[in-house]
């Protein structure tokens, strides 16, 4: 499972709608995007995920046309668009904080894109499209409202409607839900997803919120320091991260460090302070190297009676469906264990200070380089 071939998008018989070919963006000494290569397929929902400064926004801005690559190529529909200005690109963006025009009402904001077309579309057509679009984003009758009279969620829908009215080939979303509260964000995520399915438009989302990326995307492109680290479906990234960085960024993970002592087939053994720990090889690793054994908290069993590692419960956080325990093993240190409600129902809850045993299967552990 140390393949580096990126999984392709759903329908591989189609041509990519957008393509980065070793596209780099430099600002003086700073390298914001470093030789990005990526194909975006029609109709897919792709997310750029990473911490701030990882290059995800730069990638999106190259797509929109706000930045021209310093080197490499940017293609839309197979055509090189490096120097095509934004107003000539068939893509539209939902901006972070929406960037709605404060001097226009809702209808004028939404119809802005239509009104830029030449020849100008008929007023009746514009009005009809505005009404349709408002309906679609569930804001019927809001056309004459002023922007500042709307809530954050409503503004978000207006921004969405404005970007959709020109029926772009790609809809770009730049952290569109960062300003919404948690509940509203969940709602919007679901709404966006269903909208994307209904419209069949390619969505490209930039986010630093892994949950958001995991829940909405067909594919996630994880970035770090201007480079793409891994691309894949959410489940693949979660189950088979190709680096400690991805494992850490996508979901929670415990890392136990040690030296790789042996390799056999797809499995290997790591010398942990408690003895050898077996796991799957997550990427190219060499015997004798310092590596980490990465284990997801929900893959660890906690038992009052027996297991490989004697631990003491330090802390307990009730999360509803799950309970998260912070446990300590004198040799391994602190690590997290996630226990489902069901398991707790049979084994009983653990109290802080209580002694217990933790264990996991070798298949649940992934051997990754320390980087």
């Amino acid at each position: 499972m140390h393949s580096t071939a990126y999984p392709q998008a759903p329908a591989s018989d189609q041509n990519p709608i957008a393509e980065f070919r070793a596209a780099s963006k430099h600002y003086g000494e700073v390298v914001a995007a470093d030789a990005i290569s990526l194909s975006i397929m029609p109709g897919e929902f792709l997310s750029f995920l990473g911490p701030s400064g990882c290059g995800k926004t730069t990638a999106l801005r190259m797509l929109a046309g706000f930045e021209a690559p310093t080197s490499g190529e940017m293609l839309l529909d197979g055509v090189r668009v490096n120097d095509l200005p934004p107003h000539k690109r068939p893509v539209n963006m939902v901006f972070q904080h929406y960037a709605l025009f404060p001097h226009m009402n809702v209808a004028d904001n939404i119809s802005y894109g239509l009104r830029q077309q030449r020849p100008k579309p008929a007023a009746a057509f514009v009005a009809q499209k505005v009404a349709e679009t408002l309906e679609r984003v569930r804001l019927p009758g809001f056309d004459t409202r002023r922007i500042w009279e709307m809530s954050g969620g409503q503004q978000q829908r207006v921004a969405l409607a404005r970007a959709l009215i020109n029926q772009p080939k790609i809809l770009l979303l730049d952290e569109p839900m960062a300003a919404l509260d948690r509940k509203l964000r969940r709602e919007m995520q679901i709404e966006l997803q269903s909208l994307q399915r209904a419209l069949g438009i390619t969505f490209v989302l930039v986010t630093h919120d892994q949950e958001e990326a995991l829940s909405m995307s067909d594919r996630i492109c994880i970035m770090r320091a201007g480079r793409i680290v891994q691309i894949g479906a959410p489940r693949d990234l979660y189950d088979a991260p190709n680096s400690r960085y991805v494992a850490d960024f996508v979901g929670k993970s415990n890392f136990f460090e040690g030296t790789l002592s042996s390799v056999s087939g797809l499995m290997g053994a790591v010398d942990l302070p408690t003895g050898p720990g077996r796991g799957r090889l997550g990427q190219d690793v060499a015997v004798g190297r310092k590596v980490s054994l990465s284990v997801r908290p929900e893959q660890i069993y906690l038992s009052p009676t027996g297991g490989a590692f004697a631990v003491q419960v330090r802390n307990r956080i009730f999360l509803g469906e799950h309970t998260e325990y912070l446990v300590n093993n004198p040799s391994l240190g602190d690590f997290l264990v996630l226990v489902s409600r069901q398991t707790e129902a049979t084994l009983g809850a653990f109290d802080p200070g209580q002694d217990a045993f933790a264990d996991w299967t070798p298949e649940a552990a992934l051997i990754l380089n320390n980087d």
Partner: protein, 283 residues
């Protein structure tokens, strides 16, 4: 009780200032405007509308002022806008502060000194002498309407540049990206986004320049050779030469009234235009 007292104490200096510097002089001028001129000038108490009935004698001055103020404001606006635009959106941020300071630097000296400088620049030994060497002979610049215009633009430019600069600098640049993203070429983005959103700055600048131009007398006197007569010049002559304080007061009251009316109409128009927008504040 206590906070109220503190509030009053805090407001007192401003209140006294307002009373002493604005209300009182205006009240005096109003009283004087109903009086009569003394035998050797000055003011004699009376109650007569004679001064107001005599106002048509200064009609020409009002006409000149009401032509100059809007036209001058418009020209200052047309020159200040590109400058403010450059400073706010195009200039290298490293140099922006320096460039802004350069815009204010002329304000560090008196307008009188600067006007004298212009007298020499536009006078026979200045630009016309240079043009003469280039073969353009007998060009007169000083004491022409052009010279007055140069003086006005020069003197009032910063008052217009700054409010526009502030509104342009505050402009969210992503709005322009949004506009471009939605298919608008740069020049149309300027007309549809930048221009309307810098309107508050333009409104403030125009207001400042217009009000000050209504009372202007120095620039036309110095760069126009005293041949152009504005209400401000009429007031100077009435108070300091013919010492007709009563009539001068009536002219001053009329100027204030004209200004109030113009400004009210202007604000009404702006408010209607802004249609209750909270981003369009007038002052």
């Amino acid at each position: 009780m206590r906070p109220k007292l503190i509030n009053r104490l805090l407001l007192a200096p401003a209140g006294i200032w307002f009373l002493a510097m604005l209300v009182l002089p205006l009240a005096v001028v109003l009283v004087f405007s109903f009086g009569e001129r003394g035998q050797s000038g000055g003011y004699v108490p009376a109650f007569t509308f004679a001064q107001y009935l005599n106002l048509p004698a200064r009609w020409k001055a009002f006409e000149n002022t009401l032509t100059l103020a809007p036209v001058g404001t418009l020209i200052v606006l047309l020159i200040a806008y590109p400058l403010a635009y450059f400073l706010a959106l195009r200039a290298n941020p490293k140099w922006r502060t320096l460039l802004l300071i350069l815009v204010i630097v002329p304000f560090w000296t008196s307008i009188l000194i600067r006007s004298y400088a212009w007298i020499f620049i536009l006078g026979g030994r200045g630009i016309p002498a240079l043009l003469d060497m280039l073969g353009l002979h007998n060009l007169r610049l000083i004491n022409t309407p052009f010279a007055v215009l140069v003086g006005i633009v020069y003197g009032y430019l910063p008052l217009m540049v700054f409010p526009i600069f502030v509104s342009l600098e505050r402009l969210d640049k992503r709005l322009l990206e949004a506009s471009a993203d939605l298919g608008s070429p740069p020049w149309r983005s300027f007309l549809q986004i930048t221009l309307p959103l810098s309107l508050p700055g333009m409104a403030t600048g125009c207001m400042l320049v217009f009000i000050l131009l209504m009372g202007e007398f120095l620039i036309p006197a110095m760069l126009g050779g005293g041949k152009v007569f504005f209400v401000g010049n009429a007031l100077v002559d009435l108070f300091l030469q013919s010492r007709n304080w009563a009539f001068g007061s009536a002219v001053a009251v009329a100027l204030v009234v004209v200004m109030l009316v113009t400004v009210t109409i202007y604000m009404r128009a702006m408010t209607r235009w802004g249609n209750g927008r909270d981003d369009v504040s007038l002052m």
